[in-house]
Amino acid sequence: MNTAQSKTIRIVNDLGLHARSAAKLAKLAAQAGGGVWIMKNGSTADATSMLDILTLACPKGTEITVSVDDEADLDILEHIAALVRSGFGE
C-alpha cells in the first residue's frame, strides 16, 4: 500500500459509521476516478458502497485507513479524512 495515498483516521462521532455517515462517505468516494478503499483490522471495504462500509462495523473510536488507487484522487482522500474528523457534521 502506498502510504502517500492513504490516511489513517479515527472515527470520532458518537454514532460511529452508521447508515447515514456511511452514506455521506460513499457519496464523496463515488466522485473519485479510481478505487477508494477503507481498511480496518485487515478487512477492506469499497468506500463507494454504503453497505460494504457498514459490514466493517466501525463504532466510535475505531481506526480506519482510507486509501485511493489513483493519485488524481488525493484531494478526495483529503475530503474524506476531513469529513471523518469532523464527525460527519453530526
Binding site: 458518537d14 454514532l15 460511529g16 452508521h18 447508515a19 447515514r20 452514506a23 460513499a26 469499497d46 463507494t48 458502497s49 454504503m50 453497505l51 460494504d52 457498514l54 459490514t55 462495523a57 463504532p59 466510535k60
Partner: protein, 592 residues
C-alpha cells in the same frame, strides 16, 4: 374466494392490544414475490435485461420519494429509514452486483437480484452488532420493492384500502404503517413481532385489537376470509362457525358495554366493599402512554419502563434528554406517584450499541442492576436525570433484578453520589424520593427481611418471578404451559414478600401481568399486596373487580387457597369464589 372446507381454525399468538373484532381479512403480503423464477437469457438480450432491472430500481426510487414527500411531520423518524432505503437502492453491493450477475451468468434480473440479496443479507444477519443486524431488514425491504416492480405483481397498496378490514401481514414495516389510514383498520394480525413491536405500540395507542407473533397467519388466512381477532386471549379464529360468530358478537358487545360502563366509573377511586382503598396504577413504556393511564382512571404510574429511550438509537441518551422525558411524564401526572424503574436492559431488549452482550443465557446474565453497577457512569446519568425530574413531581425510584443486599447498597451509594454532585453544581433536584426494589428473583424473596431494612417499598414483578421460580422460559413453547401464576410456589413467594413488608413497615406493590387480571384481584389482596399496576386498558376492569370484594371475607378463602397443592386447584377455587367478578363482563361464560 371462499375456503371450500370452511373449517374453523384457531391460531394462537401474542395478545398485542386488547379488544375483540370480527371482520374480513386483508392480506398485505406480496403474494407471488416469494416465488422467483430462474431463466437464461440470450447474449444479445443482456442490455435489455439490465435495462429492465434499472427501470425497476428507478420506479422503486420514485415510489419511495413519493412516500417520503407524503409522510406527515409526526412520522419523520420513519422517513429517515426510507431515505436510507433510497440510498440502498443504488448501492454498489446490490445494484452493480446484480447487473454483473445478469451479464456474467446470463440470467433474468429477478434471479440475479435474488442471488445477490442472498449473498449480501447474511453478511449483516451474522454480524454481532444489533444495529447492523437490523440493516438486513432494510435490504429485504429494498429488494422487495425492486422485485415487485420486476415481477409486476400488483402491489397491495395499503393507502388505498377503502373498507373496514383486519390487516393480516407477515410484519408491518414503518413505511407500511405510515401509509395505512388507520381509521379503516379494525384489527391487526401479524406473523412476527411482539408487544413491543412497532405494530403493537400503534395498535395499543389507537386501541385497535391486535394478535401478533402468530407465526403462520399469512399462510392460513386467505384474503376476504372472515376472522375473529381476540386481542385479550391472543387468539385468531379463521372461518368461525355460526355458533362461534354469535358467541363472539355477544362477547364483543358485552366487552364494549362493560368497558364503557366501567370507564365511566374508573375515575373514581377503587374501594373494596368494606372501604379499603386500593391504588390501581398503570404501566407505561413511552411518555405518550401517560394519557392512556389517566383516561383509564389510573391513580398513578406503578411502572415506568425506561428502556425505550435507550433502544432504537445508536448511542446512549444524554442526561438532558432523559430528564425531559421524565419531566414530561411528571408534568402530566401532577401529584400522582410516578414509579421510574431504572434501566433494565436484558436479552430480549438488547441495546444496539452494547457490543459485549453476547450471552448464552441472557435472562441469567448481565442485565438490569448488574449491568448498571458495572457501568456506573451510564447508571449515574440516569439517576441524575431522575433526581432532577423529582423536583417537579411525585417520583419513586424502582431498581430491577435485585438478588442481594450488596446491589441495593451500591445502587443507593451511587444515588447519593449523584445527588451530592447535583448539590455541588447547584442543579435543582430532590433526593427525598422513596427507593424501592423489584422482587423478581427468588433470592430477593428469601432475603426480603434483609432487603427491607434498606428500601422504602417492594414491587413484585410477576413475569420474571414466575420464570425464575419455576425455571420456565415463557418463550419456549415446549414449556410455556408450565408458566403458572397460580402455582403454590408463586403464591407463597408473594405472601412471604407481603408478610415481610408488613412486618418491616413497608408497602408491597405488584406490577407484573398478574396484577392486570381482574379474577386474581381478590387473591392478590388476600395475599397482602397493597397496590396493583398494569397495562392502562386493564385498569377499569381491575377497579371494577376490587369494588366487588369484601376484604373481611378473604380470610377463610385464603386459608383454603394456601392449603391447595396445584395451580389448577387454585384456579378452580378462585373461579368458583370470584368468577362473578369476571362474569359481570362475560355472563355467558358462567358455568354451573
Amino acid at each position: 374466494m371462499e375456503n371450500q372446507d370452511h373449517q374453523e381454525i384457531i391460531l394462537r399468538g401474542i395478545g398485542g392490544s386488547p379488544g375483540i373484532c370480527i371482520g374480513k381479512a386483508y392480506l398485505v403480503d406480496k403474494e407471488g414475490v416469494d416465488v422467483v423464477k430462474k431463466y437464461y437469457i440470450r447474449k444479445e438480450s443482456r442490455p435489455a435485461e439490465v435495462g429492465r432491472f434499472k427501470t425497476a430500481v428507478k420506479k422503486a426510487r420514485e415510489a419511495l420519494r413519493r412516500i417520503i414527500e407524503n409522510t406527515p411531520e409526526e412520522f419523520r423518524q420513519h422517513a429517515q429509514i426510507l431515505e436510507t432505503h433510497m440510498l440502498l437502492l443504488e448501492d454498489k453491493m446490490l445494484y452493480d452486483r446484480t447487473i454483473e450477475v445478469i451479464e456474467k451468468e446470463r440470467v433474468n434480473a429477478e434471479w440475479a437480484l435474488k442471488k445477490v440479496v442472498a449473498l449480501v443479507k447474511p453478511m449483516f444477519e451474522n454480524m454481532s452488532d444489533d444495529y447492523l443486524k437490523q440493516r438486513a431488514e432494510d435490504i429485504t425491504h429494498v429488494s422487495d420493492r425492486i422485485m415487485e416492480n420486476l415481477v409486476g405483481a400488483d402491489q397491495v397498496n395499503i393507502a388505498r384500502i377503502d373498507k373496514r378490514v383486519i390487516l393480516v401481514a407477515r410484519d408491518l414495516s414503518p413505511a407500511e404503517t405510515s401509509q395505512i389510514q388507520l381509521e379503516r383498520i379494525k384489527g391487526f394480525v401479524t406473523n412476527r413481532g411482539g408487544r413491543a413491536s412497532h405494530t403493537g405500540i400503534i395498535a395499543r395507542t389507537l386501541e385497535i385489537p391486535a394478535v401478533l407473533g402468530v407465526g403462520n397467519a399469512t399462510l392460513t388466512i386467505k384474503n376476504d376470509d372472515i376472522i375473529i381477532v381476540d386481542g385479550e386471549a391472543g387468539i385468531v379464529v379463521v372461518n368461525p362457525t355460526e355458533q362461534t360468530l354469535l358467541e363472539t358478537e355477544e362477547r364483543r358487545e358485552h366487552y364494549e358495554i362493560q368497558k364503557a360502563l366501567m370507564a365511566r366509573k374508573s375515575h373514581l377511586p377503587a374501594r373494596t366493599r368494606d372501604g379499603v382503598r386500593i391504588s390501581v396504577m398503570g404501566n407505561i413504556e413511552l411518555p405518550e402512554e401517560v394519557v392512556s393511564v389517566l383516561d383509564h382512571g389510573g391513580d398513578g404510574i406503578g411502572l415506568y419502563r425506561t428502556e425505550f429511550q435507550y433502544l432504537s438509537r445508536p448511542d446512549f441518551p444524554g442526561e438532558e434528554m432523559l430528564f425531559e422525558n421524565y419531566k414530561d411524564v411528571l408534568d402530566v401526572m401532577g401529584k400522582h406517584p410516578v414509579t421510574i424503574r431504572t434501566l433494565d436492559i436484558n436479552g430480549d431488549k438488547a441495546v444496539n450499541y452494547i457490543r459485549d452482550n453476547h450471552e448464552l443465557n441472557p435472562a441469567l446474565g448481565l442485565r438490569a442492576i448488574r449491568y448498571c453497577l458495572q457501568k456506573p457512569e451510564i447508571f449515574k446519568t440516569q439517576l441524575r436525570a431522575i433526581l432532577r425530574a423529582a423536583a417537579f413531581g411525585n417520583v419513586r425510584i424502582l431498581i430491577p433484578m435485585i438478588s442481594g443486599i450488596e446491589e441495593v447498597e451500591q445502587a443507593i451509594d451511587l444515588l447519593d453520589e449523584a445527588a451530592r454532585c447535583l448539590e455541588k453544581q447547584g442543579v435543582p433536584h430532590n433526593r427525598e424520593v422513596p427507593v424501592g426494589i423489584m422482587i423478581e428473583v427468588p433470592s430477593a424473596v428469601v432475603t426480603a427481611d434483609i432487603l427491607a431494612e434498606k428500601v422504602d417499598f417492594f414491587s413484585i414483578g410477576t413475569n420474571d418471578l414466575i420464570q425464575y421460580t419455576l425455571a420456565i422460559d415463557r418463550g419456549n413453547r415446549h414449556v410455556a404451559h408450565l408458566h403458572q401464576p397460580l402455582h403454590p410456589a408463586i403464591l407463597r413467594m408473594i405472601k412471604r414478600t407481603c408478610d415481610v413488608g408488613r412486618e418491616k413497615g413497608i408497602k408491597t406493590y405488584m406490577c407484573g401481568e398478574m396484577a392486570g387480571e381482574p379474577l386474581f384481584a381478590p387473591l392478590l389482596l388476600g395475599l397482602g399486596v397493597d397496590e396493583l399496576s398494569m397495562n392502562p386498558q386493564a385498569i377499569p376492569m381491575v377497579k371494577n373487580a376490587i369494588r366487588s370484594i369484601n376484604t373481611e371475607d378473604l380470610g377463610d378463602f385464603m386459608d383454603a387457597v394456601m392449603r391447595l397443592t396445584t395451580a389448577s386447584e387454585v384456579q378452580v377455587l378462585v373461579e368458583r369464589h370470584f368468577g362473578a367478578v369476571v362474569s359481570k363482563i362475560e355472563p355467558e361464560q358462567q358455568e354451573q
